[in-house]
Amino acid sequence: MHRAARIVTLSLVALATLGGCKKKKPEVAVTPVNNPPPAAAPTPTPAPAPECDAACVAARDSEAKRAAIAAARATLTATIYFDYDQSEITEESRAKLDAKASILAQNTGVRIRIAGHTDSRGSDEYNLALGQRRAAAAKRYLTDRGIDGSRVEIVSFGEERGTCTEESDSCWSRNRRDEFEITGGDITAVQTSSR
């Protein structure tokens, strides 16, 4: 690299370091008029990451943990879906329930409620029972993987709380579901990727 180019690069790094705390301003594209396109400039070497002191590391870890907890919460409350008039756990739902079981195993103070739902087809009364069976199926899957059953409450709403009301395959499939709600305890133990 030419000396002049090195000076420009170092100046940019210094400016970037000094201005690190300021909000980045939007870049404005400037189109040269009547000038030939500039020759390709040599690519500057990426600036080394600024040193992070203990407070910085702690803040970074804290942020990462918050994100991981949010992700775990999302995983734990993710909805699973069922086939028509069925309460068997599907292959796709198994992966979701395995992830939930892992989070529950790491956070033994967390309690959840599983609510079984059905689509609008079928008998209103029978659908209450079917919703209960769907919730029970998910609970059984979790307890079979070592989760204490007393931490998992199940209820049914049958077809009474649909997320949509259209008479279509798309809507029906979205309504045949188990919803998961955290009813007690906090998620504290999570896998983070900040280190």
Binding site: G122, E125, Y126, A129, A136, I154, V155
Partner: protein, 440 residues
């Protein structure tokens, strides 16, 4: 069996009808009350209701005519304004030949009295008064109580004329609202829809055999369900405490009114349980579904048997068993491998039929009845999706919810003629239950 012309049958029925009053639980079958005579299905005697004097006369006449019409056992003779035949009076016989020419087999003559009305029923063929009676009317004219009193008059006159008591003095309980709905009660002719309780999320109302209470389930904010018993006298509801936590739904009173059978489920399917309705008592398990769903019970009129929906074959079908759950038998079954299901049975008050909803290949439900004598099945509906059938006390009419005119509404169908009428006009009505006779 001897068959007689209607006029002869009417004479016999009107003579013997007093003997049939007081047979409350099972509507008298004509074969049982008319010696050697037969009431043919489809026979509809013509009845002319004469004009009624007084400020409420038009209302009384309109209610009687409509009740006779809705009962589907009487042809109401339309009277032409201005050309209406003169009523018989004390000093003058009626123009019976003219009444006969109009198609009337019987003439109903109502006269207001201080306490209510005086009714005379004339036998047109015999050109004379066949029966008379004074009826008291409750409440102020056109109030809910007053109309119910007039309905009770209609029902008794129908028993005089046809041998079978009418069903006008009844009400229908139902859920208004597809989400968070509440229980309402409406008169059998669609008048006076009135809330029964204030529980949002109510489902599956069921009448006490005396019409004094309703049992229903409530889906709360944390799921299904707690069972409540609503008392019409106090206007309040109390929870049925014997049931455990978990799902508790579809309560029905046993014919003795003292026991409630309901669906209970926790983590291994749902089963039927029984407990005392008005006293604290233990819950007793009835069905053993082994992880399947067993729900929607209905009693035989004698209380000895139950019909219910069960998924023990993999998809819901209707079963019958003894009242203690023993001797379960599959009642409804279609072709082997058929996955369409049948559910929500209701045992007819005369014990002869069970109505249920059967899913068709297009996914919709239609109403069927199955004879318990020969297991023959009759389909009664074909338009829209039709569910939640409940028998009227006459064992002939069904109330049900249907999408035939758009959003779910309640309809009444005559299972003998197929004639139907719409009971409610606001969308989102479902889970109807027809009351026992409420006034006599």
């Amino acid at each position: 069996m001897i068959r007689l012309p209607y006029a002869a049958w009417f004479a016999a029925a009107i003579t013997i009808a007093p003997l049939t009053r007081g047979v409350a639980q099972n509507p008298p079958q004509p074969e049982a009350v008319v010696l050697g005579l037969r009431y043919d299905p489809g026979t509809k005697p013509g009845v002319l209701v004469l004009r009624v004097a007084g400020v409420s006369g038009d209302s009384i006449r309109a209610i009687l005519q409509r009740d006779f019409d809705y009962g589907d056992r009487i042809t109401v003779i339309a009277a032409e304004e201005g050309g209406f035949p003169d009523a018989p009076t004390a000093g003058r016989n009626g123009n019976y030949p003219l009444y006969a020419k109009l198609g009337a087999h019987a003439l109903v003559q109502v006269t207001p009295t201080a306490a209510g009305i005086h009714v005379a029923v004339h036998d047109v063929a015999q050109a004379k008064v066949a029966r008379v009676k004074d009826f008291g009317l409750d409440g102020s004219p056109n109030s809910r109580e007053w109309r119910m009193s007039v309905h009770a008059v209609s029902d008794e006159l129908e028993a005089w004329i046809t041998g079978v008591r009418g069903i006008a003095a009844t009400r229908v309980a139902y859920v208004q609202g597809l989400r968070g709905g509440k229980v309402f009660v409406v008169d059998s002719d669609g008048a006076f829809p009135t809330p029964a309780g204030d529980d949002a999320g109510a489902m599956s109302p069921s009448w006490h055999p005396k019409g004094t209470h309703l049992a229903y389930a409530v889906v709360g904010s944390h799921g299904c369900c707690q069972i409540f018993i609503y008392d019409f006298a106090s206007g309040s509801a109390r929870p049925l405490t014997a049931v455990g936590s978990g799902l508790n739904s579809t309560p029905v009173f046993a014919p003795d009114g003292a026991v409630i059978v309901y669906t209970h489920g926790e983590e291994s399917g749902t089963d039927l349980f029984a407990t005392t309705a008005f006293e604290r008592g233990p819950a007793r398990r009835i069905t053993v579904g082994r992880g399947t769903d067993n729900t929607s019970p209905t009693f035989s009129p004698d209380g000895r048997r139950l019909a219910f929906t069960s998924g023990r074959l993999g998809h819901p079908e209707v079963y019958i068993s003894d009242a203690d759950g023993t001797n379960p038998q599959l009642l409804t079954a279609d072709k082997l491998g058929d996955q369409n299901y049948r559910a929500n049975p209701d045992w007819s008050p005369d014990g002869r039929f069970i109505a249920y909803q059967a899913q068709q290949t297009d996914g919709r439900f239609q109403l069927n009845t199955i004879s318990l004598q020969d297991r023959s099945v009759k389909q009664h509906t074909s338009e829209g999706s039709n569910e939640d059938a409940s028998w009227a006390p006459d064992g002939r009419h069904l109330i049900f919810s249907s999408t035939r005119t758009g959003p779910k509404q309640l309809f009444v169908i005559d299972t003998e003629s197929g004639r139907w009428r719409q009971l409610t006009r606001t969308g989102g009505m479902r889970l109807p239950a027809w009351s026992p006779p409420l006034k006599r």
